[in-house]
């Protein structure tokens, strides 16, 4: 992979240019949907969760983290089929295609979180010292997306209805992650199952470091790293097995 870093860079830059060059507002379009979603959720649920501190901000952080995962895994899923030529006509390591899709989405996600900074300052009056940690969490989430993306990207070559299935799963994830409600509304009985959702821990960590100025506990952090390692291992295993027949079924 390292020897192909320039190819990866070129693919990411090209992807980014293609995505935004035909819209005059460019990158700011990508901010529109999370903001609208946040505003909607805020006005619908603010009376239910009126005790929540910085409720609107909390939704926004959650939505942006979810969007990073949502758009990233979708881009990875479509990446191989969308660049079929790079698979059937040339021999480059095929994981590069998935990685560059994940990376070009990372660029958007980092920009979105940078836009978030003045908003946090405006709501809370200060910026928590833990904020720079979001770079670390972003990196971990990127690896997680890449791992999941390897699995779905490879499977999508064989099963073209996977995109619809995954889209439904992503919708369910909005409601089964603590995005617009606090973790405390989850009953103790189902909490152990609820916490199996990797995105839950990511979102809790994001909210803690971005708004509350709280460091994640070591155990939470280790569990997240465990999730990431598992996604990468399973992703690589799947991909290596499935990629052998890519050029035949494309």
């Amino acid at each position: 992979m390292w020897t192909h870093r320039e190819l990866i860079k070129n693919l990411v830059v090209a992807d980014f240019k293609l995505k935004y060059q035909n819209t005059s507002l460019g990158f700011f379009w990508s901010l529109l949907s999370p903001f609208l979603l946040t505003i909607t959720l805020y006005f619908v649920f603010r009376n239910v969760f009126h005790g929540e501190q910085y409720y609107a901000l909390s939704i926004l952080v959650g939505i942006l983290a979810w969007k990073f995962f949502n758009v990233g895994t979708m881009a990875c899923l479509y990446s191989l089929v969308g660049k079929a030529n790079l698979i059937t006509k040339v021999n480059i390591p095929r994981k590069i295609i998935v990685l560059s899709a994940a990376l070009s989405n990372l660029v958007t996600a980092v920009l979105e979180f940078i836009v978030l900074l003045p908003i946090i300052w405006w709501f809370t009056g200060h910026l928590p010292a833990t904020i720079p940690l979001f770079i670390v969490v972003h990196f971990l989430l990127l690896l997680f997306i890449y791992g999941i993306g390897l699995i779905f990207g490879a499977l999508f070559v064989y099963f073209r209805d996977l995109s619809s299935i995954w889209e439904v799963m992503l919708q369910i994830l909005i409601f089964s992650s603590p995005i617009f409600y606090p973790l405390s509304v989850i009953s103790e009985r189902i909490k152990p199952y609820y916490m199996l959702n990797p995105l839950t821990r990511f979102i809790i960590i994001y909210k803690d470091i971005m708004i509350n100025g709280k460091l994640p506990s070591v155990s939470d952090f280790l569990i997240v790293i465990g999730f990431v390692a598992a996604a990468l291992l399973v992703g690589n295993y799947f991909f290596n097995r499935l990629q052998r027949r890519f050029a035949e079924v494309m």
Partner: protein, 248 residues
Amino acid sequence: MDTVIVSNVSKKFKIPHEKKTTLLQNIVGIVKRQFAYEEFWALREVGFSVKNGESLGIIGRNGSGKSTLLKILAGVLYPDSGSITVNGKIACFLELGVGFQYELTAKENVYIYGSILGMSNKEVSRKYNEIFDFAELKKFESMKLKNFSSGMYVRLAFATAVHANPNIMLIDEVFAVGDEPFQKKCAEKMLEFRKQGKTIVFVSHALNAVQSLCPRCLLLNNGRVASMGDTEKVINDYHAMLSDGAHA
């Protein structure tokens, strides 16, 4: 020294009676037990080697396995049995302009295509003027590719490809495009590569092109090596095979 060694390579394609492209179809297939497929051996026990600096031609009828063999050499397809050894930097031209983006400029595309062919950005920058002079497109470097004619497109792709400078080149009939002067330019470039001592594997239906470029040749028939050796002899075998086929 042998640069490319192919030993005992076989490749089987499974062609299902009903192609299933979704999870749903597969589940239905399991329930109804519809998994019948035809086996098609595209290559059977193919073996040969190419020496460093040698040009090998591969000829044969449609469906004889030429392209499959080239794709296996390129590493795009994996053989079911047998092995392939390649010593050196390999570049395959199964198609020109792989990865070209219509919405980007010629300049941006040259960098992308260059890196796909294994060039560093620095290398592309160094050869940048050469590439555009060769393509005769210097005036259009900041034009978007979607506004290019197909001739310009091919020239740009070819110019980038020939500057990638690999040791081993795998060439499908891609260079049989463009108008006559351009084809002539391609042919000259190929001869130049040969003189520079590059290893070339060339698949073509144009027998005179094979004859002028490759001293040695391989004839495939139904996935097997039917004949190998001097190009002249192999082409004679090919003609004999074709006329046999016509009588049968």
